[in-house]
Amino acid sequence: MKKLRDFVTSIHDMVEKAISRLSTASRNIGQQATNIDPLLWFMFFFTIYVILILKVNTSGSIADHIFFSAYSVIITIYIFSRFLLAHFHKKVVVDMNYQPTVTFVVPAKNEGGNIGKTIERFAEVDYPMDKIEVIAINDGSTDNTYEAMCEVAEKISKKIKRVEIVNWIENKGKRHGMAEGVMRARHEIIIFIDSDSFIEPDCVSHLVKYFSDPMMGAVSGHTDVYNRNANLLTQMQALRYYIAFRIYKSAESVFGSVTCCPGCCSAYRRSYLNEFLDEWLNQSFLGAPCTFGDDRALTNFILKKYNAVYCAEAKANTVVPDNFKQYVKQQQRWKKSWVRETLIACTFMWRRNAVAMIFFYMYVFLAIASPFVFFRALFWLPITESEWPLVYLGGLFLMLMLHGLYYRIKVGPRAWALAIISFWFHSVLLMWQLPWAVVTIRDSRWGTR
């Protein structure tokens, strides 16, 4: 097994070396040193070209299968539109005259190892220290989390305005921790940070710059994977995170309709949160209390009245699962909360911007249809028509390839090619999760990790 991995890695290195050599060469041909890599961009657009060829080529059979053809067309439009919209996402500059007071809220359970480092970073940001408040909630940890919190509080309390540590002996859940933080906070903007996320120094000023707009309810930061070099699984997740933020959130952000400002690093306006804090805290779905997907639910409440955007410059790093079992559990949790909150969002999204609305419902359609398309391509057609799912798997691979190339262009040489293969593999492998999430939506076990 290890030998195989070494072999795969060595092949990857070879590919990467060849590409970097070719791209340096191609860069030298054209202009002087720029960060535009002609070879990679060519590959990127070539992939789009191949996808277009595939789509036009299969367009002949549209009349035969309206549903599946519609899926094929819509998913192409949707994905291409993400790249296009993200490309035109407006950059907002930091306004030195607008510096609201901020509160960091960090709920933590059994994070003794990370929590110190997480909190320590709050006192190292490029922001007026007297406008910073930290509220850390120890949610019934059984390890040294509380001690670590106190230790770091001691250290930073002199630098910043205020530190407060809440110590719960019994575990209440992350949602309660977040709500407690909001209730105890005194500052204007609340920044939720996960106990295993680490922010960059300029994160705060970038997050708050959007709040000068009174319609702004929430801002999502950009989160990268801290432990991406651990293994292939985390490398794959690094790619997924990058694309999910840089392309998908960015595209939603164009219309101020980011559907999830994640708990790992997002800012919310406290006064707006207070409007529905109780409702959110006691949220239940189909009679069962909601114990996960807290961030998505919170964003939904904001979106009903206000805007939510994504800020690419506000960077944080978070730790992701490095083994398959944990990863599958996390994904399952996310899928469940996605189903729940998307259904809720369906009830008010039509009131928002028309274009945003169209794309949102498009996405809902795609998500619902995808398991059927998957089943048809991988099981139904091979069995009934002996038709191999080459087009489906090839198309999926090309789409992911597009994402991979974008990632490679933007972040430089990383294990992108392998990550794409792994992403592709996991997409196929974990396709059952969405329908399973629908079936088990009321089951709230796996709620904590």
Partner: protein, 545 residues
């Protein structure tokens, strides 16, 4: 709204989009030029499978030799090289195929009228490889023509391989086989379907051009607009368009013979012209759609049949499909002849079945002795026969009055003496065909109880040249011997050494021809005959038993 549209971004993106869309458009343009209407997936699969199959076939074909090169004694039997073969062919078989099915999908695409003609790839591979292994080689149309008309010698075991309709599936699966076996083929194209980009089913112009360019393919015409069934009366009966007078609903009548001739002449000329314009090669061959040249016509009597004349006026050769009862399976050297027959290969035939058919159809050498150990080429033209226990047995079926057979490969026999050891349970008489050319032209020694005739059938019209009637003439029950001597225009028929009838006035048309046998009785289920030995000598002397 959080977007911005800097002019630089927009211009760059618009430029890239334009280039992208233009590339996509051009790609499809280019694809249609090369592959016609085939979807990309199919092209990809075909290209891959071509490469893969070529490799597999090469290993299959050359593999034996590679292995023997490394074997210890380093001695292996080699088949003679193509060029070294003895040029002794006397007749050429022509094989007809339609589409070669690589998957069940292809049957869905093929027009309904083709059903049952297409053959599976496995069977086709088996047939071609079996023929190659047994020394059979393809020839080109030019070789066919120069053999037929210019006296050029070509090796025995040569055949012409043809495909009808110009389906994509009659080209792509075949190509790697031709490549590896070094075979050539002729494809009969429907110009109205293959024009321009063709279709999903039919080859496009450019695909055919490429095929021609490869040197492995030649093109013939399959008619422009006549590969279809048309109404032939007001009762909405339909029949092949080329072999039948069409019903004209506006005029409430079928077309006149003149209108018919004009229509078919026009069609054959147009298809020739179109193909010549498309591919810039002379189109000298034609294949009758559905193999019909009028023999099954619904409204054109045989004496008014003009299609063969029209077709051979316009083309050097017009190919129809051989059928059971029509005559021999091979095309013999007949310089004046334009109508050529083809064996339509059935999907159920194995490679060995086809090989047997061709080996049996090969012209037979004289003298010829048949002790009926196995079937050397006896073909039924009517009813049933059986070769078993070193005997040839013919008997009328329960509801039939008789049966007839011919010996394939005997068509070019000229002078011969034929000795038959016959055993007859019922004295229903004996018919022996001599100088048999085809089902409409042959002579017969017809010996029954009380008479002995030499008869000839010319263009389907039967006539007694000479007949003897006598009480003393009878066909014995039990074993007896039949001797028939054919020499130039002389024929004599004998039973047990006694000449019963002879003549010197055999028609000049029947100056050569093969042999066959027939039994008949007015009562059904009665006639039967058993042959123990057939011996053919080229001497006038009847050998002593």
């Amino acid at each position: 709204m959080y977007f911005s549209f800097p002019r630089k971004k927009i211009i760059l993106l618009a430029g890239i989009l334009l280039v992208l869309l233009y590339s996509v458009y051009q790609t499809f343009n280019f694809k249609s030029q090369l592959f016609g209407e085939s979807p990309f997936g199919q092209i990809f699969v075909r290209t891959m499978s071509d490469a893969y199959k070529t490799l597999v076939y090469t290993v299959q074909e050359k593999g034996g030799n590679f292995a023997s090169v490394f074997s210890s004694d380093n001695v292996y039997m080699s088949t003679p090289e193509k060029a070294d073969r003895i040029k002794n062919a006397r007749a050429i078989p022509v094989l007809t195929y339609h589409a070669i099915m690589t998957s069940k999908d292809e049957t869905k695409q093929s027009p309904e009228s083709f059903e049952g003609h297409n053959i599976g790839l496995k069977e086709f591979e088996d047939q071609m490889f079996t023929l190659k292994k047994n020394g059979w080689e393809t020839i080109t149309l030019l070789e066919f023509q120069s053999f037929m008309r210019e006296g050029k010698e070509i090796p025995e075991k040569s055949f012409l391989l043809t495909f009808d309709d110009g389906a994509k599936e009659s080209y792509y699966p075949v190509e790697p086989i031709l490549k590896v076996l070094e075979y050539e083929a002729v494809t009969f194209i429907l110009p109205s379907f293959s024009q321009g980009n063709g279709s999903h089913y039919y080859l496009s112009e450019n695909e055919i051009s490429r095929a021609i360019k490869s040197g492995r393919w030649e093109v013939g015409s399959h008619g422009n607009n006549v590969h279809t069934f048309v109404p032939v009366d007001n009762a909405s009966n339909t029949a092949p368009a080329l072999a039948n007078r069409k019903w004209i609903p506006e005029k409430n009548r079928t077309e006149t013979f003149e209108e018919y001739e004009n229509r078919i002449r026009e069609d054959l000329l147009v298809s020739q012209k179109k193909l010549e314009d498309m591919f810039n090669v002379p189109i000298k061959t034609f294949a009758f759609p559905f193999g019909e040249f009028g023999q099954l016509s619904k409204n054109i009597p045989e004496e008014d049949m003009i299609l063969p004349t029209v077709a051979t006026d316009i083309y050097d050769y017009a190919f129809y499909q051989w059928w059971k009862g029509e005559g021999f399976t091979f095309n013999y050297r007949e310089p004046y002849k334009g109508m050529m027959k083809r064996i339509s290969v059935k999907p159920t035939w194995s490679g060995d079945d086809l090989l047997t058919m061709l080996e049996n159809g090969k012209p037979k050498t004289l003298p010829y002795l048949d002790t009926f150990q196995n079937n050397q080429g006896w073909l039924s033209t009517w009813g049933n026969f059986d070769i078993a226990d070193s005997q040839l047995k013919m008997s009328a079926g329960e509801t039939a009055t008789g049966a007839s057979i011919i010996l394939d490969g005997s068509k070019d026999w000229k002078n011969y003496t034929l000795h038959l050891d016959v055993d007859s349970a019922e004295n229903t008489g004996v018919f022996v065909f001599i100088r048999y050319r085809d089902h409409e032209n042959f002579a017969t020694c017809n010996i029954g109880n009380g008479f002995a005739h030499v008869e000839q059938t010319i263009r389907g019209k039967q006539q007694v040249i000479k007949g003897n009637r006598s009480e003393s003439i009878s066909v014995p029950k039990g074993p007896f011997r039949v001797d028939i001597e054919v020499h130039d225009r002389k024929v004599s028929c004998s039973i047990n050494g006694a000449v019963l009838v002879d003549t010197e006035f055999l028609d000049g048309i029947l100056d050569y021809g093969g042999i066959g046998l027939k039994i008949w009785d007015k009562n059904s289920g009665l006639s039967s005959i058993t042959i123990d030995t057939l011996n053919i000598t080229d001497s006038n002397v009847i050998p002593q038993r």
